[in-house]
C-alpha cells in the first residue's frame, strides 16, 4: 500500500451543511471515494491510500486537474484504491462530488 495526502488551495465553498458521501467500492480495479466537509473553506485535502504503489505522479496530475476543474473548497476527499485506472478514478471522483453537492 502507498499512502499520501495532497493539499490544494482553491475557491472557497459557497454552501454549508453538506453531508459526507461515499462512492464506489474497494474491489480490484476499483476504488471508494469519501467526500466530507472540511473546516478550512478554501482548502481541498485529498488523502490517497492505494494498493498500486509507484504512480504518485499520475495521481497528482489527475487530482490537480480535478480540483482545478471543479473548484472544490472546504472539502476533504479520502480514497481507498485497489488499482483503478485513471479513467475509473476520474469517473468515481466526479460521481462522488456530484452526489456530495446534490445531496447537501
Amino acid at each position: 500500500m502507498e499512502h499520501f495526502t495532497l493539499s490544494y488551495t482553491t475557491t472557497p465553498r459557497l454552501q454549508e451543511g453538506h453531508l459526507p458521501r461515499l462512492c464506489g467500492v474497494v474491489a480490484s480495479g476499483n476504488l471508494e471515494v469519501l467526500v466530507e466537509p472540511l473546516d478550512a473553506a478554501d482548502l481541498c485535502l485529498i488523502e490517497v491510500n492505494t494498493s498500486a504503489p509507484g504512480f504518485r505522479v499520475i495521481w497528482e496530475a489527475l487530482l490537480s486537474d480535478f480540483v482545478e476543474r471543479n473548484q472544490v473548497g472546504g472539502v476533504q476527499i479520502s480514497i481507498n484504491d485497489a488499482g483503478a485506472t485513471p479513467a475509473v478514478v476520474g469517473l468515481r471522483l466526479d460521481q462522488a462530488l456530484d452526489a456530495y453537492r446534490s445531496g447537501l
Binding site: 500500500m1 459526507p20 461515499l22 474491489a27 471508494e32 469519501l34 466530507e36 491510500n49 479520502s78 481507498n80
Partner: protein, 300 residues
C-alpha cells in the same frame, strides 16, 4: 437519459441496494464511513481497507415500516466477515432487541469468513448466529435477502438459514462450501466449479426455492425484492412473532430428515426439479421466475 429498466440487485453495490430497497432518503447509517472503522487486520497484512469494512448497517423505513438493515458488499473481499464487519452485524441485531423494529433485514452477499482475520471472522459469525436467534426470541423477525455475486456461503450460509424468511433471486446462491473449495479438496469429478449451470443447479435460487430453503424466489431487480419484503412486513406485523418451540423445531427436523432420505443419492438439482414436478428439466433454468413459481405452486 430516461431509464425505465429495473435496477439489478445482482449488479448494485451494497449501498445501492439499500438506497433502492428502502423508502427514499430514509436510511440512517450507524458507524458510517466517516468514522473510518476500517479493519486493522487487513491494514497489518498490507491489504486494502474499506471505510465501512464491507458492510453498511442502519435504520430505515420500508413502506413506512420501521426496519433495521444491513448490506454486505460482495465486491469488497467477497463480502467476507472480519472482526469489525461482524461486530457491526452483531450490534445491529442487539439494537433490534432494544428498538423492536418490524424486522431486521440482512442483505447477505458473502463467501463467509475473511481469511485475513479468520479466527475473528469465525467467532463473529457464531456471535451473529446467536444474535439472530436472540433477536427472534425477542419477537423481532429477521429476513435474509440473497441475490449478489457472492451468494450466502460459509458461516453466512448458516446465518441466512436461521432467518425467518429467505428471499432469493435466481442468480443468488446459498450453500456452505463453495464449489471451488470442494473441487480443490475433492477433485473436479466431485464438483466442477467451472461448470456454471451445474453450480447453479446445486446452489442457485431456483433449486433452493424448489427445496423450500428459500421462501421466495424473485426476479433480479431491487423492486421485486422490495415488494416481497413489504408484503412480509405487513404479514409479520399482523401478529406477534412466535418463538420456535420444541414442536416447531421437531417439525423442521422431520422435514430435513425426510429430505435427506428422499434425496439420499442426489448430486444434481435436476433430481430436485424432477421431484418438484418439473417435466422439461432442460427448460427449468430458462423459465422466467413468475412461471417457475407458478409451476412449483401448482405441483405443491
Amino acid at each position: 437519459m430516461t431509464n425505465v429498466r429495473p435496477t439489478s440487485f445482482f449488479e448494485a453495490t451494497a449501498r445501492g441496494r439499500v438506497a433502492k430497497l428502502v423508502d427514499a432518503g430514509s436510511f440512517r447509517e450507524f458507524c458510517p464511513p466517516r468514522l473510518r472503522r476500517t479493519s486493522p487486520h487487513l491494514a497489518r497484512l498490507n491489504a486494502p481497507v474499506a471505510f465501512d469494512d464491507g458492510v453498511a448497517v442502519g435504520s430505515a423505513t420500508l413502506e413506512g415500516y420501521k426496519i433495521l438493515i444491513a448490506a454486505q458488499e460482495g465486491k469488497f473481499n467477497g463480502g467476507a466477515v472480519g472482526e469489525v464487519h461482524g461486530a457491526k452485524l452483531v450490534g445491529l441485531l442487539d439494537r433490534g432487541i432494544r428498538e423492536r423494529p418490524a424486522a431486521v433485514l440482512l442483505l447477505v452477499d458473502s463467501g463467509g469468513v475473511r481469511l485475513h482475520e479468520a479466527n475473528a471472522g469465525l467467532i463473529a459469525i457464531s456471535e451473529i448466529m446467536r444474535g439472530v436467534l436472540r433477536t427472534q426470541a425477542a419477537g423481532v423477525p429477521v429476513f435474509a435477502l440473497v441475490g449478489g455475486a457472492c451468494g450466502a456461503f460459509g458461516g453466512m450460509g448458516i446465518v441466512t438459514r436461521l432467518c425467518n424468511e429467505i428471499i432469493m433471486s435466481e442468480e443468488g446462491r446459498l450453500g456452505l462450501s463453495g464449489p471451488e473449495v470442494i473441487e480443490t479438496v475433492k477433485g473436479v469429478e466431485e464438483f466442477d466449479s467451472r461448470d456454471r449451470p451445474l453450480v447453479w443447479r446445486v446452489t442457485g435460487g431456483k433449486v433452493r426455492r424448489a427445496l423450500g430453503e428459500a421462501t421466495y424466489l424473485v426476479d433480479d431487480d431491487i423492486d421485486s425484492f422490495r415488494s416481497v419484503t413489504a408484503e412480509l412486513l405487513c404479514r409479520y406485523g399482523a401478529k406477534p412473532l412466535a418463538v420456535a418451540d420444541i414442536d416447531e423445531v421437531t417439525a423442521e427436523h422431520a422435514r430435513l430428515a425426510e429430505r435427506a432420505g428422499r434425496f439420499a443419492t442426489a448430486r444434481d438439482g435436476r433430481e430436485i426439479f424432477q421431484a418438484s414436478g418439473f417435466v422439461d428439466l432442460d427448460e427449468v433454468s430458462l423459465l422466467p421466475v413468475a412461471k417457475f413459481n407458478q409451476q412449483l405452486l401448482e405441483y405443491i
